[in-house]
């Protein structure tokens, strides 16, 4: 097992963060749209389970699923604004910064993993 699952987990995390980024940018774009409700992705708990896949010893056991099928964008219905939009621009910008840092961190780890592999392959 050359990649030992790490690359899979990291790239799934990157996918998740990229998708979330898109929703956050959409929220910021609609900060002034009356009645708009913000969208977000829940953090994929299943990401961690990806490596520890559930054992299925019975045909009716559930195998567990990837975050793609389980985490749907959620909306928070309440709103404090007169125009019934629930986008708070400051919070949205903070989330955007957080998500970008997360993405860069995961990309950095992925690079580290590849660097290790390169060291192993090159023997240097």
């Amino acid at each position: 097992m050359m990649f030992s699952g790490t690359v899979d987990i990291l790239s799934a995390s990157l996918d998740w963060a990229a998708e979330r980024q898109e929703l956050l940018i959409h929220n910021i774009a609609n900060a002034d749209t009356p009645g708009y409700k913000r969208k977000d992705l829940a953090f994929p708990r299943v990401l961690a389970e990806k490596k520890l896949a559930l054992a299925t010893t019975h045909p009716r056991h559930l195998p567990g699923s990837s975050w793609r099928s389980s985490a749907a964008p959620w909306h928070k219905r309440n709103s404090a604004r007169v125009d019934e939009s629930n986008v708070d621009l400051d919070i949205e910008m903070a989330r955007l910064a957080e998500n970008t840092m997360y993405y860069q961190g995961v990309a950095d780890r992925l690079n580290g993993k590849f660097k290790n592999l390169r060291t192993a392959i090159g023997g240097r």
Binding site: D32, L96, A107
Partner: protein
């Protein structure tokens, strides 16, 4: 491509906010205009924003914002007593546009901030893209 879609999402917002800024400028510039081609004083103009949903509805992510209409503010005109004005009625009152400068200035600041926020969003997206491109280097 996900990344490029997010960038165009920011672009739709930038263009919508810019149109809003244009309309605010027009409102301020015409705050004292008593004659228009349609007749009567200038009416304050406001953009109507709506969420631009992605074509495939099951894909819950949208694709930014769009301006669905530019509408005129239906509130009544300001009536000012100014008998010497050429557009005064027989009682000496002139109808001025329903533009409130303070309101317009507040909107101007808000639109400017929203524009800035979307520029930042665009730039973070670019940073992420750069991080993705550097993988494996």
């Amino acid at each position: 491509m996900r990344f490029f879609q997010a960038m165009s999402t920011s672009a739709t917002a930038l263009s919508a906010q810019r149109l809003r800024l244009d309309l605010i400028s027009s409102n301020i510039a015409n705050a004292g205009t008593t004659r228009t081609p349609e007749g009567g004083p200038y009416r304050r103009k406001v953009p109507v924003f709506a969420e631009n949903l992605a074509k495939a509805q099951k894909d819950l992510s949208g694709s930014g914002v769009k301006v669905i209409a530019v509408q005129e503010d239906p509130t009544p005109f300001r009536r000012v007593y100014e008998p010497g004005h050429p557009d005064a009625d027989q009682d000496g009152y002139v109808l001025y546009p329903n533009v409130n400068i303070v309101n317009e200035m507040v909107n101007l600041m808000e639109a400017g901030r929203a524009y800035d926020a979307n520029v930042t969003a665009f730039n973070t997206q670019k940073e992420m893209y750069r991080a993705a491109l550097s993988i494996g280097k």
